[in-house]
C-alpha cells in the first residue's frame, strides 16, 4: 500500500508531463462523451459542444482540484511558484535590485555580529568526543577569586579517583617574551595532547617525555596563530630554536587552526609544565605551589553530575583530613567556547538590537515598496483570483517571490559581512595604541553556522517585509479590478504610517546614541586627570632579583628626566587602610610613592612639603586636600599625627604587598586633589606614604625627554636585555586617551548605523510620499479645480508626513530615554554615568532637529510636485 502510494506520487513527480496528459485526456474524454450524447439527442455539434462545456464548468478549476488530490501538489505548486517568481523578478529588475540590496545590507550587518558571537559561543575545538572534556574547578571564594589546584592535588586526584579516562594539568596566560616579542603561552602536562587525542599539523605534539626537568632540550609546540605571528607560516619551522626568557627552546610541532587548546582564543605556543621556572621565575624551586587548572576526559557513559558527586566526595574526605573549609568541586565543560554563554549573549544583546534595527528599517522600506507594487499588481492578482486561484495560493505565490529575493539578499549579506569585518579590522587595528601590547585579533572566519544564520535571517526578514503586503494585495474584489478599476482605498495607509513611525523611531534611537557618545568623547577630551600625562611612562617591574639592575639602567638613561616609585601603579586599585585620628576612625585608600612622585606627575603641594630624600621609609604622610579636610576637619592637618594600619579585610589585599613601615604617621604636606582616569576607576587615593624604588613590588613612573612612544620603545629594548620577561611599559598619554578612544569607537559605530538608518528611512519616506502623490493626482487635481491653492496642497502632503514622523520621534526619544534610565539603574552606572552623559539634552535635541530637517527635505520634493500639478491636465488624463 505504502509502496503503491509512493509509486503514484513518484510517477506524478518524475513524469509530470505524463500525469498532466492523463488528466487532460480524462477531462476531455468526458467532454467529448457528453457532446456525443447531446448530438445523439439531435443537437448540432456546435450547440452540443457548448452545452457540454457549460455543464462541466471550468476545466481549469477541476484540473487544479484533481492535482491537489494527488499528494504532489505541494511540490508541483512550489515549482510553479518558483518559475513564476523568477519571471516576475526579471520583469521588475530595479525593484528587485532595491529589495536585495536593502535587505542584504541589513542581513550583512547582523551577520557581522553573529560571526563574532559564533566564535565565542558555537565554534568548538576539533577534539574527538569533545563533550567528554571538563575542567575541574572550585567555585569562587568570598573574595571572588578562583581557588586553584596544585600539582600534588592533581597527583592525588589522579591516584584516588576514577571518573576520568585521562586528565592533565594546565597553566594558562603565561605571557612571556619570545625572541623579544610578547606571546601568550600555555603550559601543559606532558600527557595533555594524548588525553585530547589531537595530532599536530606539522611535526609532533608534546609528549610525556618532554615534561621532565632533566630533558636535554626544552621544547615548545606552536599554535596556528603563533606560527603565523612569529614565523609568518614558514613551512620549515619545525626544528628551529626560539629564545624564551633567555633560554633556547626547540619548536617540535605546529597545531592545526582548528585546535585552540579548548580556549576561545588559542595561545601562541604550548610548552611542557616542567619549563615553568623559565617562564615564571617566581615559581623557581616552588613549582608545586603554582596554581594549575585540571582538565579531564570523563569515562565514556559517566554523566557529569555523577562525576562531580564522586569528586566532591573525594574532596570532602581529603579536606576532612586537612581541615579545609568549603570543599566543593564544579565541573565546567571545556570545548573552546565561552564558559558562560548566557553572559556573552547578554553582552551582545544591545549590539544585536542596534544592528538589527538597520535590518528592521530596511525591511520596513521593502514592505512599503511591496505595498505600492501590490496596488499596481491588483489587476494581475484580480485576474488570477477570478480564474479560481484561492487567496492562500496567491499569498504563497507572493511570499515565494519575496523569499527568493531574500535568499539573494542573504548572499549579498554574506559579502557585506565579510567586507565589513575585514574593513573594520583594517581600519581599527592601526588605531590601537601600540603600548597596549601586540594585540592579535583572530579572524572571524565564516563557517556553516554563519550560512545557517543567514538563511534563517532571510526567512525571518521575508515574514517581516512580505507577509503584510501580500495579505494586503490579495484583499481585493476581483470583479472591480477586472474592470480595470484600481482600488485606491485598500487601506494600506495605516500600515504605512506604522512602518514610517517605526523607521523614524529606530533612526532617532541610533542617532541619539551616537550624539551622546560624541558629546561624551568631546567632553572627555577636555577632562583634566589632574596630573602630567604628556611625557610620563609607567614601568612595571615583576622580577625582583632584576630590580636593582633595572633601576640602575633607568637612572643612567639620558632620556629619563625624573623617576619615582609607586605602589600600586596607576592602573591598579589602591590598598585600603584603617585610619585613626583624634577626630575619627575610618577606612581610606593609601598609596606608597617616592618623594619625586609629585614632581614627576606635576601634582602641586599646596601646603607643607613633600617627603625629603632621607624620608623614604620614615613615618610621614602627605594627604590630599580632601583627605586632609576629612581626617582633620577642625584643625590644620600639617604636623598632626595619625594612626594607620593596612586593612586586613580589604579586597585589594595581597600576600606579597609592601608593608607599612610604622603605625603612626606625621602629616608633612597637603597635595592638590587628583581626578585620575575615569575609565580605570582608580581615582587617586588621598594618603601617600613614602617609598623608594628599591621597595619590592613598586613600579616606576618616569618623566621622559621627547616623545613618550619613542621613549617607551627605547626603554623596552634596553630593559628586556636585563629581564627578557619583564612586565608592561605603558605611556600615560595612552591611558589618558583610552577613555576617549573607546567613546570614539562607540561614536563611530553608532554614527555609521545611525546614518544608514536615517538614509534608509528618508529614502523610504521619499518614495512613499512620491507614490502617494502620484496615486492622488486626480484627487489633488479636483481639489485645485475647486479652488485649493498650491499652499493647501503642500500642506496636505506635508501633513501626511507629520503624523508618522512625529510618532516615530516620540517613540524613539522615549526609548532612548528609557534605556538611559535603565542604564543608570544598573550597578555599572557608577563608571558609565560619569563618562557617558546618557541624558545629555543637547544630544537629544540635535538628533531630533536633524531628523525633522531631513524628513522635511524628503517630503518637500513630492509636496512641491503636487503643488505644481496643473488641474486641467490631471483631470483630462482620466
Amino acid at each position: 500500500m505504502m509502496v503503491r502510494d509512493w509509486l503514484l506520487r513518484a510517477r506524478a513527480l518524475l513524469s509530470p508531463r505524463r500525469a498532466e496528459r492523463d488528466l487532460n485526456d480524462e477531462l476531455s474524454f468526458h467532454l467529448d462523451r457528453e457532446t456525443q450524447k447531446l448530438i445523439e439527442q439531435g443537437r448540432s455539434p456546435e450547440d452540443a459542444r457548448a452545452m457540454a462545456q457549460a455543464r462541466f464548468g471550468s476545466t481549469t478549476v477541476a484540473a487544479d482540484e484533481c492535482r491537489d488530490q494527488r499528494g504532489t501538489a505541494t511540490v508541483d505548486n512550489t515549482i510553479r511558484d518558483l518559475t513564476y517568481a523568477v519571471r516576475t523578478i526579471a520583469r521588475a529588475p530595479l525593484a528587485s535590485f532595491t529589495i536585495v540590496a536593502t535587505v542584504g545590507l541589513g542581513l550583512g550587518l547582523v551577520t557581522v555580529l553573529f560571526s563574532v558571537l559564533n566564535i565565542f559561543l558555537f565554534r568548538v575545538d576539533h577534539v574527538p568526543d569533545i563533550n567528554e572534556m571538563f575542567a575541574v574547578e572550585r567555585p569562587r571564594d568570598a573574595n571572588d577569586e578562583w581557588q586553584q589546584f596544585t600539582r600534588p592535588q592533581f597527583d592525588a586526584m589522579m591516584r584516588e579517583t576514577s571518573v576520568f579516562a585521562g586528565m592533565y594539568m594546565e597553566l594558562g596566560d603565561v605571557d612571556s617574551r619570545v625572541d623579544g616579542r610578547m606571546m601568550a603561552i600555555t603550559l601543559l602536562g606532558g600527557n595533555a595532547f594524548q588525553v585530547l587525542g589531537v595530532r599536530a599539523a606539522m611535526g609532533r605534539t608534546l609528549l610525556a617525555s618532554d615534561d621532565d626537568r632533566s630533558a636535554p632540550q626544552p621544547v615548545v609546540v606552536l599554535s596556528d596563530k603563533g606560527w603565523e605571528r612569529r614565523f609568518g607560516r614558514d613551512p620549515n619551522v619545525v626544528g628551529r630554536q626560539i629564545i624564551v626568557n633567555g633560554a633556547p627552546h626547540e619548536v617540535v610541532g605546529v597545531m592545526p587552526a582548528s585546535f585552540r587548546g579548548l580556549n576561545v582564543g588559542a595561545p601562541d605556543l604550548w610548552a611542557p609544565l616542567s619549563s615553568l621556572a623559565e617562564f615564571r621565575p617566581i615559581h623557581r624551586g616552588r613549582e608545586d605551589q603554582a596554581g594549575i587548572a585540571i582538565v579531564g576526559r570523563l569515562k565514556p557513559g559517566l554523566s557529569a553530575a555523577a562525576a562531580r558527586a564522586q569528586l566532591d566526595a573525594w574532596d570532602a574526605q581529603r579536606s576532612g583530613a586537612t581541615t579545609r573549609r568549603d570543599a566543593r568541586i564544579v565541573l565546567t565543560p571545556r570545548r573552546g567556547t565561552v564558559p558562560q554563554p548566557l553572559e556573552a549573549m547578554v553582552l551582545f544583546a544591545p549590539l544585536f538590537f542596534a544592528f538589527g534595527l538597520i535590518l528592521m528599517i530596511g525591511c520596513a522600506n521593502v514592505a512599503n515598496l511591496l505595498l505600492a507594487r501590490g496596488v499596481s499588481r491588483q489587476r494581475e492578482i484580480g485576474i488570477r483570483l477570478s480564474l479560481g486561484a484561492s487567496r492562500p495560493r496567491i499569498v504563497r505565490q507572493l511570499l515565494t517571490e519575496s523569499l527568493l529575493l531574500a535568499l539573494a539578499a542573504a548572499a549579498v549579506g554574506f559579502v557585506v559581512s565579510r567586507v565589513a569585518i575585514e574593513g573594520t579590522l583594517a581600519a581599527v587595528l592601526p588605531t590601537i595604541p601600540p603600548d597596549l601590547g601586540d594585540i592579535s585579533i583572530m579572524g572571524f572566519k565564516a563557517d556553516w553556522r554563519v550560512g545557517v544564520f543567514l538563511i534563517a535571517g532571510a526567512l525571518v526578514s521575508t515574514i517581516f517585509f512580505a507577509l503584510m503586503p501580500a495579505l494586503h494585495a490579495t484583499r481585493i474584489d476581483p470583479v472591480r479590478t477586472m474592470r480595470g478599476e484600481l482600488i485606491k482605498d485598500a487601506k494600506p495607509g495605516r500600515a504605512r504610517t506604522v512602518l514610517i513611525s517605526l523607521q523614524v523611531a529606530a533612526s532617532a534611537l541610533l542617532l541619539i546614541c551616537s550624539a551622546v557618545f560624541l558629546r561624551s568623547a568631546l567632553a572627555s577630551a577636555t577632562v583634566d586627570p589632574g596630573m602630567r600625562t604628556a611625557d610620563t611612562v609607567i614601568v612595571e617591574i615583576v622580577n625582583e632579583p632584576k630590580r636593582a639592575a633595572m633601576i640602575q639602567s633607568l637612572a643612567s638613561d639620558p632620556r629619563i628626566a625624573m623617576m619615582a616609585a609607586t605602589w600600586p601603579d596607576l592602573l591598579s586599585l589602591p590598598r585600603a587602610a584603617i585610619v585613626e585620628t583624634p577626630a575619627l576612625k575610618t577606612t581610606a585608600a593609601y598609596k606608597m610613592v617616592g618623594p619625586e612622585y609629585f614632581a614627576v606627575l606635576d601634582i602641586p603641594i599646596v601646603r607643607g612639603r613633600t617627603f625629603a630624600d632621607h624620608e623614604r621609609a620614615a613615618p610621614v604622610v602627605v594627604l590630599s586636600e580632601t583627605m586632609a579636610r576629612t581626617l582633620f576637619p577642625k584643625s590644620d592637618a600639617i604636623g598632626q599625627v595619625m594612626q594607620m594600619e593596612a586593612d586586613p579585610d580589604s579586597p585589594t589585599r595581597r600576600d606579597d604587598e609592601p608593608m607599612l613601615s610604622s603605625r603612626s604617621f606625621t602629616v608633612v604636606g597637603i597635595s592638590r586633589d587628583v581626578a585620575g582616569f575615569r575609565i580605570t576607576d582608580t581615582n587617586d587615593p588621598g594618603i601617600f606614604v613614602p617609598a623608594s624604588t628599591e621597595t619590592p613590588k613598586t613600579s616606576v613612573i618616569v618623566r621622559v625627554n621627547g616623545d613618550p612612544e619613542l621613549a617607551r620603545q627605547h626603554l623596552l629594548e634596553r630593559l628586556t636585555i636585563i629581564d627578557p620577561n619583564m612586565g608592561q611599559i605603558l605611556t600615560m598619554r595612552t591611558m589618558a586617551r583610552m577613555e576617549r578612544y573607546f567613546l570614539n569607537l562607540a561614536f563611530w559605530t553608532t554614527l555609521v548605523l545611525g546614518t544608514l538608518a536615517l538614509t534608509l528611512t528618508v529614502s523610504g519616506l521619499f518614495s512613499v510620499l512620491s507614490y502617494l502623490v502620484e496615486q492622488r493626482t486626480r484627487e489633488i487635481g479636483v481639489r485645485m479645480a475647486l479652488g485649493a491653492t498650491s499652499r493647501h496642497v503642500t500642506r496636505l502632503v506635508l501633513s501626511q508626513t507629520a503624523k508618522p514622523v512625529g510618532f516615530g520621534l516620540f517613540a524613539g526619544t522615549g526609548l532612548a530615554f528609557a534605556l538611559a534610565i535603565l542604564l543608570i539603574a544598573t550597578p555599572t552606572a557608577g563608571v558609565i554615568g560619569e563618562v557617558v552623559h546618557v541624558t545629555d539634552p543637547l544630544a537629544y535635541a540635535a538628533s531630533i532637529i536633524l531628523i525633522v530637517a531631513v524628513c522635511l527635505l524628503a517630503a518637500a520634493v513630492p509636496a512641491m510636485r503636487a503643488s505644481r500639478l496643473d488641474p486641467m491636465t490631471t483631470l483630462r488624463q482620466e
Binding site: 500500500m1 503503491r4 502510494d5 503514484l8 492523463d22 485526456d25 480524462e26 477531462l27 474524454f29 468526458h30 467529448d32 462523451r33 457528453e34 456525443q36 450524447k37 455543464r55 462541466f56 464548468g57 471550468s58 478549476v61 477541476a62 482540484e65 484533481c66 491537489d68 488530490q69 494527488r70 499528494g71
Partner: protein, 110 residues
Amino acid sequence: MPRATPDLLPGTLDLLILRTLQAEALHGWAISERIQQISEDVLRINQGSLYPALHRLEHQHWVEAEWAVSELGRRAKYYRLTAAGRRQLAVETREWQRMSHAIGRVMKLA
C-alpha cells in the same frame, strides 16, 4: 434547460461513486450518467467535482484506475473498486442506512 441540480448531502458523493462502481469498472462520464439515470434525473453530479472526488478516492486506494479503450474507440480512464473500497462501501452504506432510517422516523413521528 438543465434544472437546478439539488445539492447532494455532504459526504454522499463518495458513497454514490463507490456504490456505482460495485458491479463493474466505469469511466468518469459513465459514473455520472449511471447515477443520473438510476436516480431518475434527481441526482445530477456536479461534473467539476466528480473528478477531484475520483482522484481523492484513488489516492485513498478505495478505487484503482486503468486506461482502456472506450465505447468511443479511444482510451478512457476506468475506475474499479479495490478490496479496501468494498470495505469502505460497506461501512458507508451501513452509516447511510442508519441515518436515513433515523431521518425517516423523525419525519414520520415528530
